[in-house]
């Protein structure tokens, strides 16, 4: 009987305009987020949830560079060998939502999964850009290559490892196997060590190759980041 009364009452009331309702609900939800500067707050919140190994490894490479400066020794070989691991673990940590099945939870919050990924990339990226700049100065003092060249020599392995790891994260092997990012980083690190230890130096006048490589890798990195975002968007859709 109560159900019958309910149905009678419901049928007698006109349905609210769906478009008007939808517009209002969206605007209302935006207002509910408050006025605390959404993007900055999201980045700051995600920075707190980047795991300690990422920051520790970044700190470790900085310590190595500072030690070299203190001991007046060239450390570019060691620093450039560690850089692939720094980028590898950064990519690995940024993509852990998918690995641990958090994507669905994140995607139903008001911050989209894409927003979370963006925040993590930005928070790690800001720190690592600062790190590379500092390393270029510190290691550059002892390397004999100058600050710009040192920066290019450190950025190149970082970007190679980062691009490869991002590409790997989009494969089933990369998502299933956490060690695959480490393997990629180790491979790039090994190459850098060989270049330095075996003395595979570029001939005089060919140093510009480092600059060109860094520039090309920056473009590739940008493309990889875009692909990663598009990948998350396709996965959600």
């Amino acid at each position: 009987m109560n159900r019958e009364i309910k149905m009678q009452l419901l049928s007698a009331a006109p349905v609210p305009d769906h478009r008007k309702k939808d517009r209002f609900v969206r605007a209302y939800r935006k207002q509910c987020r408050g006025g605390r500067g959404g993007t900055f707050d999201i980045i700051r919140s995600q920075m707190g949830y980047i795991r300690m190994p990422v920051w520790l490894l970044s700190l470790a490479v900085l310590i190595v560079a500072v030690w070299g400066l203190y001991k007046d020794r060239e450390v570019i070989a060691a620093v450039s060998a560690i850089m692939p691991f720094v980028s590898g673990i950064a990519v690995f940590d940024s993509a852990r939502s998918g690995r641990y099945g958090m994507t669905e939870l994140e995607s139903v919050t008001y911050v989209s999964e894409r927003g979370v990924l963006f925040a993590r990339f930005v928070s790690i990226g800001i720190v690592h850009i600062a790190l590379l700049l500092v390393l270029a100065v510190i290691a550059g003092r002892q390397s004999g290559y100058g600050y710009m060249m040192t920066g290019a020599m450190l950025t190149t392995p970082y970007l190679i490892s980062s691009a490869l790891c991002m590409e790997l994260e989009r494969t089933a092997l990369g998502r299933r196997n956490a060690l695959s990012a480490i393997a990629v980083s180790a491979a790039v690190s090994g190459v850098m060590l060989l270049i330095q230890v075996e003395g595979w130096q570029l001939p005089e006048g060919w140093q510009w190759v480092w600059y060109a490589a860094a520039a090309v890798l920056i473009v590739i990195e940008y493309a990889e980041i875009r692909k990663t975002f598009r990948w998350e968007e396709y996965a959600w859709n």
């Binding site: 609210p16 209002f24 987020r33 919050t109």
Partner: protein, 167 residues
């Protein structure tokens, strides 16, 4: 990571998460007070906006707060005498004849009831609010509310059986 999501979601929850559930309820509540669809939509949205600006702290009385705001807004609106005497959807809007007749009958029956009785009927039998919440919204004790709801239900059924008119 989860904690950050929940922290943002917690604040979002208290004001925004219920809107999908409550929008239609508040709209119907307003509609049966002012008997005008557009006005009811405006009042519904105004209700939520005022709720958002209110200093309400989450203590499990959200719905009561919403209905209280809606009630006050409807009362103000009716004082402005903008409501039409008959529902604006008197026409069948393409409904089947039988449904259109039932609709008209319901509206007629509701029109014959007092505003207080109509409100109780809407809150309890259409929006299915709890006795506790209705008691807090209307200020009636649970015992008095229970008796009134029984009477209102019988009255509505009698009016419907009688074609919407008193016998």
């Amino acid at each position: 990571m989860l904690k950050s999501i929940i922290q943002y979601r917690g604040r979002y929850n208290s004001r925004a998460m219920d809107i999908e559930e409550q929008y239609d309820k508040i709209y119907r509540f307003c509609y049966y007070r002012v008997k005008n669809k557009e006005t009811a939509e405006d009042l519904t949205q105004e209700t939520f906006l005022r709720f958002l600006k209110s200093p309400y702290e989450e203590r499990g009385e959200r719905i009561r707060y919403l209905y209280t705001i809606a009630r006050n807004l409807c009362t103000e609106e009716m004082r402005r005498e903008r409501a039409e005497e008959l529902p604006d959807d008197v026409s069948d809007d393409g409904l089947e004849a039988e449904k259109a007749a039932e609709k008209a009958q319901v509206n007629l029956a509701l029109g014959r009831m007092s505003e207080e009785d109509r409100e109780l009927l809407i809150l309890r039998y259409m929006n299915e609010e709890s006795l506790r919440d209705i008691s807090r919204i209307t200020g009636l004790s649970r015992f008095a509310l229970y008796r009134k709801l029984n009477r209102v239900k019988k009255e509505f059924m009698r009016l419907m059986e009688g074609g919407g008119t008193h016998e």
